[in-house]
Amino acid sequence: MEMTNSPIETDVVIIGAGPCGLFAVFELGLLDIRCHLIDILDRPGGQCAELYPEKPIYDIPAYPIISGQELTDALLEQIKPFDPQYHFNQRVDEIERIGDNKFRLKTDDNQEFICKNVVIAAGGGSFTPKRPPLPGIEDYEGKSVHYSVRRMSDFEGKDLLIVGGGDSALDWTLNLTPLAKSVTLVHRRDKFRAATDSVNKMMALREEGKINFILGQMTELKGENGELSSVTISGPEGETEVNCNCLLPFFGLTMKLGPVANWGLNLHENLIAVDTEKFETSEPGIFAIGDINHYPGKLKLILSGFHEAALMAQKVNNYIYPDKKVVFQYTTSSSSLQKKLGVK
């Protein structure tokens, strides 16, 4: 049984650490609102970091050219003064209202958050491991097919089949070999995209006979009641059947809407409907900004998400500090804003 960690309490939880979620920290921070960010990825940046870190973006105001990774790094620098707390490798599965101005969120790692407002900046949805389109694979998932490693000890004494040629495949080959009963690595070619050091270490294990390497691709899974017994690999030498009771396929990530659809919010073709004054959803106190929202005239652009973050923050401020007098201020000239930014 997994234990539930004690809940984390904060002003605002932001779901998604893409560019819009990151910039929301800034706009909320200027208003003295503290944020925790949750993302299923292992790092910030959303699509910019995952899909096009090296590609240039030409339409960020005042940056004639900036790459996806550079934009992410600049945003992280910009929001640093507000000390946002990041929770990576976790997917938010549930949002529940537990009071007038109070929500409880739960992640797939059993972490709970209690907050006053929720900002959904889930972009194109959660990045999810690709599922090899092999017949019947769903039946094995969670039992003998895993797309990530949460606890290494789960793999102790297993006959493990790892498929892929990137960093995930090789890192787990290296880390799990000492624990598993046997490890077979399968890749479609004898060339690996992973870090050179990992490739060298894997080659050494191969030479020492500690792992088995097979050139080829999976074609069939065999087993019963969710328990895998073997996987058929087809390669240049023909077909091989590998006995294994655990499969780890690493084929990268794809964006899936995921749990967003289950949160009881009004949707418009898989996007969350919001107003254009506050970017609030059909559920008061829950906001949606960036690629995940919809309103008439919506453009899925980073700059639109930034604007949405600024307006959303005003309404959140109103929820959290109902008695605070709202004074409009510029960062250029307001000494109180500059103090918050740590520049004064």
Binding site: Y52, G164, R188, F251, T254
Partner: protein, 106 residues
């Protein structure tokens, strides 16, 4: 304008006219050809635009560059004639090109 034929896994055939300079992926998206998702919009970083080039055309389309070959590791059922369609630029030479789309892009 070069004509390109897309054949779905079930044999459904779509012949469309391409423009020189656009990619085979962009052409497919423009005409809503099923079986090409192109999640990353042509950045060569998702492998959901995977196609099989008809054997008669592989010489003309050429072979994948290193980055594309690396990305093909993230495609399923990769064969000798596999390409990422966002990396095939349409030229006059490719008039008549035939590509097949896989049953699933994952």
């Amino acid at each position: 304008m070069p004509k390109i034929t897309f054949i779905e896994h079930d044999g459904t055939t779509n012949e469309v006219e391409g423009e020189v300079g656009m990619t085979v992926m962009e052409l497919a998206r423009k005409h809503d050809i099923p079986g090409i998702e192109a999640e990353c919009g042509g950045a060569c970083s998702c492998a959901t635009c995977h196609v099989y080039v008809d054997d008669a055309w592989t010489a003309k389309t050429g072979s994948p560059e290193e980055m594309e070959e690396d990305m093909l590791d993230f495609a399923f059922d990769v064969r000798a004639n596999s390409r990422l369609s966002c990396q095939i630029k349409i030229t006059d030479e490719l008039d008549g090109l035939i590509v097949r789309t896989p049953e699933k892009q994952f």
